[in-house]
């Protein structure tokens, strides 16, 4: 079990629990975290689960994959720490992960 904290644009925080193997997007959707739309349901095909990984976690979360890099072309305000949360797999190493939710997914 890993705890993941979603920080809304307003600053409001919500911490949810995810099982290893699940994606960060799935943990968000399961717990109805606002702002993670996930139109395509996790197929890396829509870029509506965009998050900004907090600086101390960027390295642990790892790099974007090629398909994700392509899909980020359809996200808004992409930054160095942008990830699609459907492509971040939860593991014990990510217990305590903090990500910011963009103001709007589109």
């Amino acid at each position: 079990m890993a705890k993941i904290t979603f920080i809304q644009h307003s600053g409001a925080e919500q911490t949810v629990e995810g099982l290893p193997g699940m994606s960060v997007m799935e943990a968000a959707v399961k717990n109805m975290v606002p702002g993670i739309d996930a139109d395509c349901g996790g197929a890396c095909a829509c870029a509506t689960c965009h998050v900004y990984v907090e600086p101390d976690w960027v390295e642990k979360v790892g790099a974007r994959n090629a398909m994700e890099e392509d899909m980020l072309d359809f996200a808004f305000d992409v930054r160095d720490n942008s990830r699609l949360s459907c492509q971040i797999k939860i593991s014990d190493a990510l217990d305590g992960l903090r990500v910011k939710v963009p103001e709007k997914q589109f």
């Binding site: 139109d39 829509c46 890099e69 359809f74 808004f76 103001e103």
Partner: protein, 342 residues
Amino acid sequence: MSDVITTDAVIIGAGPCGLFAVFELGLLDIRCHVVDILDRPGGQCAELYPEKPIYDIPALPVVTGAELTSRLMEQIKPFNPTFHFNHMVTGVRKLGDKGFELETDGGLVFRSRVVVIAAGGGSFQPKKPPIPGIEAYEGASVFYSVKKMEALRGKDVLIVGGGDSALDWTLNLQPIARSLTLLHRRDDFRAAPDSVRKMRELSEAGKIHFRLGQVTGLKGGDGILEAATVKGNDGQSFDIACNAMLPFFGLTMKLGPVAEWGLNLHENLIPVDTEKFETSVEGIFAIGDINTYPGKLKLILSGFHEAALMAQKVFKLKNPGERLMFQYTTSSSSLQKKLGVS
């Protein structure tokens, strides 16, 4: 206004459930017109995951979205449905006991005995980038699709994005625009390699400008754009002068006009019964991802089942008093005749 199209059923949405509805209705001699906002059949299977495998279609251990769509198209061929692509149904009005009048944003008008809403997650609409104040320019200087190329002749055009739409319109508009800038967040494209090559040639020849960065603000007044403020990849901001901007960030699903048709809604879904999959208005049905009922699962196979049961009630509405004999396609010669196999 164009001529009115008269039919038994209008199906809104050409995704897998809408397509299979043509089959189930066709077996009962109900003639269908299918309307979809996309330019091809398949719905989410075409737009979101044409190449992704689906593993839970009965008897097909693995099938891609594109393949499922083409198999359904083959299966419904005997019923010869009429497709109306690039149209969004905007209005549905009840015509007494005689059915419904529907209209699309492209000016089509239907008179139909029944309406089958198979609109999935809603209609695919262009993503609108949340740039502050962008709404004021939409329709006058900011366009999410190109309806008439001529409107952009002689303009200073800024195209934003790196997919096929951005690349295609860069190539198409370059000859008629006064100037054209393509802005993308990286020097890589998710588009047809041939288009990318042609774009790079134009850029090298100085016929277009290719810049790296993301739009953060717009300048202008009264809906007329003068410049877009861009944050470059080095963090520096600069302005690109333009009087037309075309952002291409793909499509997203919005419920759209369905909400205005007087149907009961529950959290953007349409509640239906589980016998006929009919909405709160008799004669309007909802199948597939867009409906809700106790135990609903958003699975393609559930939508197929819903289509079969919906068709039974449509038959009764079309043929009041007539008894519908339940038949199997394996053994019924009349069904086989309709399918063109006997």
